[in-house]
């Protein structure tokens, strides 16, 4: 069984008990992303205080991987500055391109916290988009809410 490799305990926990779920006010940007291959979607709101992410609230339907990913992302980026969050997004992208290489996951463990559990997903090309959907939404929302360092 290779299944446990992808569906790590941490992932199933986030899936069953998502952190930060629900759409909340206030917010500076709201985006809606769709995964065209499966039809799953996420609506994501971003609330900033200065450079800092004060809230990420979201709603949507999707598979365990996409739902767990947005929950783990919530934990990871809350309280970070936007540049820090975008950097984490880059790390997560690197993890998704690792094709299951454990050394990549090892190196990113500190940066990605729970989200490093998604390492196994990178062995299943059809699921990478699931894990990335919320990160793409966050990037998009950041671009709208935040003009970058002035």
């Amino acid at each position: 069984m290779q299944l446990e490799n992808m569906y790590q305990e941490i992932i199933l926990d986030h899936y069953k008990n998502p952190h930060g779920r629900g759409l909340r006010e206030p917010f500076e940007a709201e985006v809606h992303h769709v995964n065209p291959t499966c039809g799953d979607e996420v609506t994501l709101r971003l609330h900033l205080e200065g450079d800092t992410i004060a809230d990420v609230s979201y709603e949507g339907m999707g598979c365990s991987i996409s739902q767990a990913s947005v929950s783990a992302m919530y934990d990871l980026v809350l309280g970070k500055t936007v540049p820090q969050a975008l950097e984490a997004g880059e790390h997560f992208m690197t993890l998704m391109q690792a094709k299951g290489d454990p050394s990549v996951a090892e190196k990113l463990e500190d940066e990605l916290e729970d989200a490093v559990a998604f390492a196994g997903v990178s062995k299943y090309p059809a699921r990478i988009k699931c894990a990335l959907m919320s990160w793409m939404a966050l990037k998009d929302a950041s671009a709208r809410a935040w003009g970058g360092p002035a």
Binding site: Q2, L3, S64
Partner: protein, 440 residues
Amino acid sequence: MTQTVSRPSESSGVARNAPLPLDVEAIRADFPILTRTVRDGKRLVYLDSGATSQKPRQVLDAERWFYENVNAAPHRGAHQLAEEATGAYEAARATIGGFIGAPEQEIVFTRNTTEAINLVAYALSNAATAKEPEFRTYAVGQGDEIVVTEMEHHANLVPWQQLCERTGATLRWLGLTDDGRLELSNLDTVINERTKLVAITQQSNILGTINPLGDIVARAHEVGALVLVDGAQSVPHQPVDVTELGADFLVFSGHKMLGPTGVGVLWGKYDVLDKLPPFLTGGSMIEVVRMEGSTFAAPPQRFEAGVPMSAQVIGLAAAVEYLQALGMDAVEAHEKALTGYALEKLAEIPGVTVIGPPDTVARGGAVSFTVEDIHPHDVGQVLDDHGIAVRVGHHCAWPVVRRYGVPATTRATFYVHTGYDDIDALADGIRAAQKFFGTV
């Protein structure tokens, strides 16, 4: 023929139905890919023929024979290879036409069903701007209507949306009932005097529904509309005869009926084809070409521009011969037996809901289902881990999943090499998914 490969599954309370019409073990031996294993040595249980079918050795051999012996551009060249290639290509056209009861000059080769539908859709908008009066017969424009159904594959929906965008025509559609059938109560208002074309699938790729085409064709012809039947999921799985169908166009894909990728078919009534302007233009479809303008060949050449997918056409003819040797009645009966068995097996599993007709009446072998509290893709992932290949998602029929209030489904589809053992594996796999995600 007897079916020996599958033994009754211990866990099942459902009695096996009669022996299957096809000799599954013998057929499997013709499919090289079925000898491979997946996910650490598991037998490949291929339940995704609805997306694309596997190919028997006979089809691969036919293609290779073409390349190694007669490869040349058909209808171009005066040498022996060109003669033989042309002969093989046109003989294949006759074979494929024969499969659906059509004369060869009514068979147009396309890449796939999608291109065949686009061909008709573009011909209708080209008709509106054609300079040749005879090509304007079927012109579509403002005030005209095109009718589809809510169960169409994107291939039989988006091209008509786009035709409407190009011409100003309006798209209308027949809806669906809760049990996966067409809502026909408003047939006579949806199809009306303004209707120019009705495009409808014979078998739904997601619900399995087989549509009552007779009534729809009759109504369409009553108001003078053309009828295009999407046979992508019917021609591979049941006998289809265009003379009985009564439609104006039938489209289907080779890759879904044991044939190669890259070849599909548009059948059209000759008199209708003859009045359509060309779609793709270029070599081999012309009559006379001048810098100032061109005239075009008669069908089917008018619709086959450029050097064709010759080897694939030869391969598709071999696929047709393979199916004919099995007998399409037997293929249909085989899949009906499997479908009945699958519906029973799935009904036994708590939390599993089939989307589509619940029994085998007017129903083909596409079995879509949801499993309570597990996303279809996660179900598919666990099945994959057991070596079972199914499709997950909206199956290119997004409006259907929306209609039934589910984000997506998991879908199993059957073909000539499918046996009871494959369906037992599916049922066991679903139970494993429920266990894995802790929903039971």
